[in-house]
């Protein structure tokens, strides 16, 4: 049925027939007043948006669409020093060494009883498989854990109802990398030697600390997206997959042969029991675990060596396959936890599965086949129903608080609203252009906040003033308060957003940290007061323990550094007032500047490669005398007898003449 010409036909229809004819939107009436956030007042929602190939996460206000902050996560950021300072380099360490970039597709906001709790945002690294945890009090990346036996960490970091686990599934199957396995195999031996893995990463209840609790080894499918069950389906996790053909070349064609692929239904509670009972096998692997110690303002980076792998073929009752048409992508669970929506990228209908029916079919062993030793449930037995002719190319579904679903359609470039119970299409709006993910505030949770749906589009074209071949990405905000969706706003987004979540500002803003208390700064090179500022030589390492406050550094005159020395500028910001960071940059630094928040200590390494006197200065406008916030460091030839001296405000009699 599916072949290349069909793909081309669909694509052609999309381009010629379905793309909205013009960039002129249909925003009407009082749209402007609905997105107007008066100067000095706040937005209603935080929008936590993945940066895609930027590797970062961005924070926008909804309904204004204003960008507040880009949080460095998987990509080094010379603007803040993330991944460049001695304290943050370790956050980007992996079993492959220092990896300065990744591809972040999905945020997942922590929940308690299925409802947003405003504590953490998780994010996945697709390329070098990792999960990051961002602390919503500081809006900083607090922890990054690497995943062994994994490639293409796409179906991640979705979370269980009480944030017991965040998950990771392999979009690219590959030979496992544990000790004793042989990864040096022919690609042609895919069916024999390649494996998929689904990792359950536990999240400690109070601290949020992550640990790879166990992995399920699965057939070499491409697990794509995932959602946890909730309410009645609390114990279950659902993953979509494509490539049940197990193709390893020209997947565009070869992984689109079968009429149906699968949704994987994982009983994680059962798997957890087996893991605790020691039913798996421990594998010797290598993966990095990095976390930020806020008291020392420093990363702790460690390599871990063990993971527990469970085999669903042996365990029998932890994994079942649900047939799902045409290369499913989105796999979304409605707020009641009763319905699972599969979205086939090439399908012209949306199947909705019933959790009750899945349970009955499992109990009755109502299987149609086995796939690589895993039971396949009968499609008709577990189907709640199909949404007929919703549009072309469904991708993702979010839910409101009134029993409705909103599905994005990439090919026909639209959002379609439908009722989960009746499966009737209720409304449709065009997006500009070719929507990928979409977001309803609280849309994936047991308690959607509703009000808006946001489209994150893949194509921008003519929506904004042109900026050459490379354009900003395009998002649209729609009101969903009424029966009809109403376009309110276009707003540009950085990177390439994939998934996003939105959370009421009230759940987050009151917890926002303003300063780090200087009394609680336990950084080994902190200067907690100017009295503690000093310069120490240890062999060829020179440690400058420096303080900064409006508007001077101590010390600001340093001599006695020589070619061959490595200089570490450890700068402590003595300020204890909100929004008074200081910056630090030194001439010729081949890495980055750094921004130091009030009460924090940060370190940049500087290896001078020529003799001279080099200025350093504060890069973050801090006061009326910010321009005066500067200093000099003198570098003499190797073997020079210039003694190590340092001072601030000291002028010799000679100089005063």
């Amino acid at each position: 049925m599916k072949n290349l010409s069909l793909v081309l036909l669909v694509a052609t229809i999309a381009i010629i027939g379905c793309k909205p004819k013009s960039g002129v939107s249909v925003a009407t009436g009082d749209a402007a007043t609905k997105v107007y956030v008066a100067p000095g007042t706040y937005d209603e929602f935080y929008n936590v948006v993945s940066g895609g190939f930027s590797g970062q996460m961005a924070i926008y206000g909804i309904p204004s669409g204003r960008l507040f902050r880009e949080i460095p996560v998987f990509s080094a950021d010379p603007e803040t020093g993330w991944g460049y300072t001695e304290e943050t380099k370790g956050m980007l360490m992996t079993s492959h060494g220092f990896v300065p970039w990744d591809d972040l597709h999905h945020p997942a906001l922590s929940t308690t009883n299925g409802v947003h709790d405003g504590r953490w945002a998780f994010g996945n690294a697709n390329n070098t498989p990792r999960i990051a945890r961002i602390d919503m009090k500081t809006f900083k990346t607090a922890e990054i854990i690497e995943l062994p036996n994994s490639s293409g960490n796409h179906s991640s970091p979705f979370i269980t109802e009480n944030t017991e686990y965040t998950v990771a599934g392999t979009r690219f199957s590959s030979p496992p990398d544990y000790q004793g396995s042989n990864p040096d195999v022919s690609i042609n031996s895919y069916k024999e030697n390649f494996k998929g893995y689904i990792s359950f990463v536990s999240v400690e209840k109070e601290s949020g600390m992550m640990d790879v609790a166990f992995q399920l080894q699965i057939p070499p499918l491409n697990t794509d997206l995932a959602r946890a069950g909730k309410g009645p389906s609390h114990d279950w996790f659902f993953f979509s997959c494509y490539n049940s053909e197990q193709a390893f070349t020209l997947l565009e064609v070869n992984a689109s042969q079968k009429d149906k692929d699968f949704i994987l239904a994982v009983n994680w509670k059962k798997a957890e029991e087996y893991a605790k009972a020691g039913k798996g096998s421990k594998k010797n692997v290598k993966y990095a675990h990095n976390y930020y110690d806020e008291s020392k303002h420093t990363t702790i980076s460690e390599i871990k060596n063990e993971v527990l792998v469970l085999d669903p073929k042996e365990l029998k009752d932890v994994l079942y396959l649900i047939p799902c048409p045409k290369s499913p992508h989105g796999c979304d669970v409605d707020p009641t936890g009763q319905y699972i929506v599969g979205s086939g990228k090439l399908a012209a209908l949306i199947p909705v599965f019933s959790f009750d029916k899945i349970q009955k079919a499992i109990d009755a062993k109502d299987f149609e086949a086995e796939y690589d030793g895993i039971p396949v449930l009968k499609y008709e037995s577990v189907l709640h129903g199909e949404v007929q002719k919703p549009g072309l190319g469904p991708l993702h579904t979010e839910f409101d608080d009134k029993g409705n679903a909103y599905t994005s359609f990439f090919v026909s470039s639209e959002i379609v609203k439908w009722n989960v119970q009746s499966l009737q299409v209720l409304d449709r709006v065009p997006t500009y252009y070719s929507i990928g993910h979409l977001c309803v505030p609280g849309g994936p949770t047991a308690k959607p906040w509703g009000k808006y749906v946001i489209a994150y589009n893949k194509i921008t074209k003519d929506r904004y003033l042109p900026t050459g071949p490379e354009l900003t990405q395009s998002a649209q905000l729609y009101s969903i308060d009424g029966d009809k969706m109403e376009l309110l706003l276009d707003f540009p987004t950085t990177g390439e957003p994939h998934y996003a979540e939105a959370i009421p500002a009230e759940l987050v803003k009151g917890n926002s940290v303003k300063i780090f208390k200087i009394e609680e700064n336990n950084h080994p090179y902190a200067a907690k007061g100017e009295k503690e500022a000093k310069v120490i030589r240890e062999g060829n390492k020179v440690h400058v323990v420096m303080s900064s406050i409006r508007s001077h550094f101590v010390p600001d005159n340093i001599e006695g550094v020589k070619i061959g020395d490595e200089v570490y500028f450890h700068v402590t910001n003595l300020e204890q007032d909100w929004d008074v960071p200081h910056g630090f940059a030194v001439k010729g630094a081949d890495n980055a500047e750094m921004l130091i928040m009030p009460g924090e200590t940060a370190t940049i390494k500087w290896v001078p490669n020529r003799v001279g006197v080099f200025p350093f200065y504060c890069t973050d406008f801090c006061s009326a005398l910010h321009q005066e916030m500067q200093g000099y460091i003198r570098v003499s030839p190797a073997g020079s007898s210039v003694p190590l001296t340092y001072s601030t405000g000291k002028v010799t009699k000679e100089a005063a003449k």
Binding site: K517, I518, E519, E575, Q576, V580, F621, C622, S623, A624
Partner: protein
Amino acid sequence: METFIINKSIAILLILFNKILTMKSQLIIALFMGLLLTACGGNEDIPGTEGKKPESMLGPKTESEKMISEGRGIGEVKSVTLATPLEQDRVKRGKDIYDMKCSACHALTDQRVVGPGWAGITKTRKPEWIMNMVTNVETMLERDPEAQKLLELCLTRMPNQNVSIGDARDVLEYMRANDGEQ
């Protein structure tokens, strides 16, 4: 250096310069108000002063006006009881806080660095004024004419160093020791 800073034309240049820069607008507004010596009491909701809503700390207008006119400043500290001899444990704690949070800008002599030197301060200022300046600096710079005179002189807004009332009391005791009290 000192005459350079208070030179009026430089000060005007600074204002114009600041006007162009949109960031840290709170500082700029405050600098303006400080320089023009306008006592502005209506601006209660400046971002960054959250949790320190001036009105809630001031009580009725008349009381705050009375405090200002008596040189006690404005803020939570209405009256301070000083004991003689000095409480030495307070002096010691006060010194540690001074080293960490104050010494970057205030010398123990009468020399002005960023802010005024501390020598003699307990003779010229009431203890309530000192503690309010330390713990409620934003409002002091907006409302208290003596604080505003100092801003006009120093041109650097004294930062909120997140010092609690109790810690400020310790710092006050250290200042008394610095002024030679026993």
